[in-house]
Assembly symmetry: C2
Homo-oligomer: 279 residues x 2
């Protein structure tokens, strides 16, 4: 497993260096906005979405740099979603990864604008990429679909609309797939699109892998965060024992989706990492 | 001028019908989010940005439908910016166009998500357009650049960062160009891109027109809104007399930029409309 650990660290570092170079400088006006965008994006994180894009692109035979734009765009979208999630009107969290949340450091208005600016920059980066136009269009379609009202934003809204009520296991899975799973699944798909993968068997396998992995990630999140929130989650709906079993099943399903796909060892390893992670 | 009035009304209606059809139904979950997106986008407005995109595309020789996706995307971005601007943490406005603001009708969290969802949908619509890929990419580049921290979002941040302080006329113009002008200029540019215009002389003329028109729009806004806000604006910085003169000069500059461009009568008429509008 040390191979995967080194791979994960190397791609995380690569993405963080690119993000630091591509985000507007905090000394350039509007300085406060740029500082907030940098803090939201560079203040830590596993960079799981970036690593998934790199691993999927490399599985499809591309050089690492083909996935650079996708990796940065995915992390910018993820960072925007966290900056907005933490707002008083949303989850009202004062801290993020042990640091003051974006709206605590910069104020609510700047946190809102920083999130919106990061979303725009993510799309700009894909549109300005050096990749062939057909790959860029595919990546833009996948990302826009994954973050809009049919994906991440829709999942956050569904979660709010369902707050306080009882959720069936199936309804909870819909929320989790949209809220968290859609962007994680899109990470794998963007990597394949960046590589220009046109093989239907591979694309179907990667999409199935991404769907199971995204749900697995959220179920594990719910187990790790249990007690921190009142929102319906895997533990409140399924119970702790069943939630833990389900995380393992989803990991197994993600790995099984890769059967017959060559060079999938890293994605298999990432599924294991997601299922076993402790934070 | 009755020709322009009819043209403006016809294109506005066309865009509104498309928006009503393309925005997710308010009966489809997440229903509250979708209702908020529809209210933010369909609750009135001049549709100036859409009409500019249509007029520019038609000037470049395209059929009207070539600009449909650009027109809808521009209006979605504009609607998102208004829904977020009205939030308590931003301008804290309870009404918009005589109706309760989005956050009053649906709550702050839903208004934030609706704005973000509209931004994503705008990019999705361009990425999914039937136009040739090279035109789509150009449109996506222009739109992402106009709405990010170098454009609209940056202008809103600059305005906040400058609040309470004195602004020079030049600094105010920078804020106005980013906050309002960038999206208006992009509207003309997206129309030309949708038409596949590759003529440098036309593109330069349209961009100059768009820049002057965008500033003209904001100066007139400041004159019409004078007294409603404490923020530095054309009237507080230049005085009412000079602001009125400047609006006329900017209109003249916009019209002059079109010299030698054929079929520019509608854009000239729109410049007149923007300079003379009473609301």
């Amino acid at each position: 497993m040390s191979g995967l650990y080194e791979y994960f660290s190397a791609r995380r570092r690569r993405c963080e260096e690119l993000l630091a170079a591509r985000l507007p400088s905090a000394s350039k006006p509007p300085a406060r906005l740029h500082a907030a965008m940098r803090e939201a994006c560079l203040g830590g994180g596993k960079r799981l979405r970036a690593v998934l894009a790199y691993a999927a692109a490399e599985l499809c035979g591309a050089q690492t740099d083909a996935a650079d734009d996708a990796a940065c765009a995915l992390e910018m979208i993820h960072a925007y979603s966290l900056a907005h999630d933490d707002l008083p009107a949303m989850d009202d969290d004062d801290t993020r990864r042990g640091r003051p949340a974006c709206h605590i450091q910069f104020g609510e208005a700047t946190a809102i604008l920083a999130g919106s600016g990061l979303q725009a920059l993510a799309f700009a980066m894909l549109a300005e990429s050096d990749l062939p136009e057909s790959r860029k269009i595919k990546m833009l379609q996948l990302l826009a679909g994954a973050v809009g009202s049919g994906g991440m934003v829709g999942g956050q809204a569904l979660e709010m609309e369902g707050e306080g009520g009882d959720l069936t296991a199936a309804a909870l899975e819909t929320v989790q797939h949209k809220k968290t799973g859609a962007l994680i699944c899109a990470s794998v798909q963007l990597g394949a699109a960046a590589a220009g993968c046109g093989d239907e068997k591979t694309l179907t396998a990667l999409t199935r892998y991404g769907r199971h992995l995204g749900l697995c990630f959220q179920v594990v999140d719910d187990i790790l965060d249990h007690g921190k929130t009142e929102t319906a989650n895997s533990v409140t709906v399924l119970g702790a024992k069943r939630a833990t079993e389900k995380a393992g099943e989803l990991r197994d399903n993600a790995v099984a989706a890769l059967a017959g796909i060559e060079n999938a060892h890293r994605l298999r390893g990432i599924a294991d990492f997601v299922a076993r992670r402790k934070k």
